[in-house]
Subunit: 249 residues, 2 copies
C-alpha cells in the first residue's frame, strides 16, 4: 500500500497541505473517497488512513499499524563532500538501507567547494530524495540530512555518538578486518553510531588524527577498494546483517 | 599503483594489444620506459610489471605479488532483467563488492524485453564496466557476465551452485531474517553461491516455485524494502561481512 510521510501530529482527521504529497495522492495515484493509504507522522508510527474528502484533501485515521522496520541502532553516515551527484545517490541508497542520518562535510581532499547558498539547495534536494526513498522502502522515519559548511562544526558533533567508525582504506590494507565485527557485537539497541567516509581522494592523515582524538575507531570494510559512494552501502548492510539478521546476536 | 587486466598467460615479456588498455596506459597515464604497473592475467595473480618499450607497448614482469582480495566464496548474482541502465549500475557496484559472476535473466515480471542482438551489446557494455570496476577496486578477477535469453537456460545453471538463495521480499515481511545468516555460517571456502533477485515487480510465485524446486532457499535481506538494484549490494556486503570480517567464523 502507498505510504506517505506527513509533518506534524496524527489527529483523527487531517488535511494534507504538502504540494508534492497532494500531487502524488490525487494526481498520480488518483485517490478517491474511501481509498486507504499508510500515513507516517513525526512519531514514526505507521497509520492506516482513509480518504474522506478527495476534494478537501482530508483523511481520517483508521488504525495504528505495528510495522516497524527501523534499524535497532541509529546509524548516521558522514561523507566527505564527493564530486557530482554522488551524494544524491548515497542519500537514496542509504535511506533504503536504514540510515538515520545522512551527513556530509568538507574534507581536506574534497575537490568540490560548496558554499552556503549551494548547500541550502543541496540539502533541499537530498531531503526530497530521502523522503521518496523512505516512502518506497516503507521506513518509519525519514533520515535527517545535514551538510556542514565547516569541518569544525562536524567535528563538534562526534561526541554525541556512542560509537564513531572511520572507514579507512589503510585499515583494510593492513589486514585489520575484524575491528568492525568486534565493535558491532557489543553495540546495544538504541545506540547512536556514526560512520565517517572520505571523499574520492580519501581521508587525510590530519583528519584521521582528529577523528581518532574524538574517539573514532578506524575500521576496514573488506579487502577490496570501495568507491566513496559504495562504502556507506557496505557499512549499512553490515550493520543490518550484524544486528538484525545475525542469529548469534 | 595502476592495475590492468590482460588476457592470456603471463610471459616474461609481453606486448599489450588491447586498444582500451593501450589508450589508458600510454595516452591517459602517459607511461614511459621504466614505469611500473600491476598486471593481472587470467590466472588471477597480480604481477608488478615494468615498461620496457612504450613505443612497442612492451612490458616485462618484475615479480609476483601476494595480494589477493577475492571473496573466499564465489558469489554470483542473477537479476531479473531490470529497466533502464540499472544492470550497468549493478555490474559496477557488484564488482567492487566482490561478485564472481553478474548474471541476468528474463523474469516473468521484467518489463524490458531484450532479444539476441540487444543482449550481445549489453554484455559487451557490462563487461567493460566490470573490467573498469575490477581494476579500480584492485580485484584479482573480472566477474563473468552472462545474460540469459531464455529462463530455462538460467534454470539449468542452478544445479552448478553449492547454495542458491532467493532474495524474496515476503521472507522479510514474514519476519524470517535469520535464514541467510544461518546458511552463511555453514558455507565453506571455495563454495559457489548464487543469489537470485527479481526485477522491479519482484519474483513471480511460479518462479519462486521453480527456484525452490531447484534447491533454492528463500531469504530476507532485512526488514526494509530494497529496490531491485540495491538488494544485490546488500547480499554481497552481507557475505563479505559474514565470511571475511566476522571474527566468530
Amino acid at each position: 500500500m502507498q505510504q506517505y510521510f506527513v509533518k506534524g501530529r496524527a489527529d483523527e482527521l487531517i488535511t494534507i497541505t504538502d504540494k508534492d504529497t497532494l500531487k502524488h495522492m490525487f494526481s498520480v495515484m488518483r485517490l478517491v473517497d474511501g481509498d486507504e493509504v499508510v500515513l507516517v507522522f513525526e512519531d514514526g508510527i505507521k497509520r492506516l488512513a482513509r480518504v474522506v474528502s478527495s476534494s478537501q484533501h482530508q483523511l481520517e485515521m483508521v488504525q495504528e499499524l505495528k510495522d516497524d522496520v527501523e534499524l535497532p541502532v541509529q546509524v548516521t553516515i558522514a561523507s566527505g563532500f564527493p564530486k557530482g551527484d554522488k551524494l544524491e545517490f548515497v542519500a537514496q541508497k542509504a535511506t533504503e538501507l536504514g540510515a538515520s542520518g545522512i551527513w556530509a562535510y568538507p574534507a581536506d581532499w574534497s575537490v568540490v567547494k560548496w558554499d552556503g547558498k549551494k548547500l541550502v539547495k543541496k540539502v533541499e534536494k537530498l531531503e526530497k530524495i530521502a523522503q521518496g526513498a523512505a516512502e518506497q522502502s516503507k521506513r518509519n522515519r525519514v533520515p535527517e540530512i545535514q551538510l556542514f559548511e565547516k569541518k569544525t562544526d562536524f567535528l563538534a558533533q562526534l561526541v554525541t555518538f556512542d560509537k564513531v567508525f572511520i572507514a579507512y582504506e589503510e585499515s583494510a590494507k593492513a589486514g585489520e578486518l575484524a575491528a568492525l565485527a568486534r565493535e558491532l557485537q557489543i553495540v546495544e539497541t538504541g545506540q547512536k553510531i556514526l560512520f565517517i567516509f572520505g571523499p574520492e581522494g580519501g581521508i587525510s592523515p590530519k583528519e584521521i588524527e582528529a577523528f581518532e582524538q574524538a574517539g573514532g575507531i578506524s575500521v576496514g570494510l573488506g579487502p577490496r577498494i570501495l568507491r566513496t559512494e559504495t562504502a556507506p552501502l557496505y557499512a549499512l548492510s553490515a550493520v543490518s546483517y550484524a544486528v538484525e539478521m545475525n542469529i548469534s546476536n
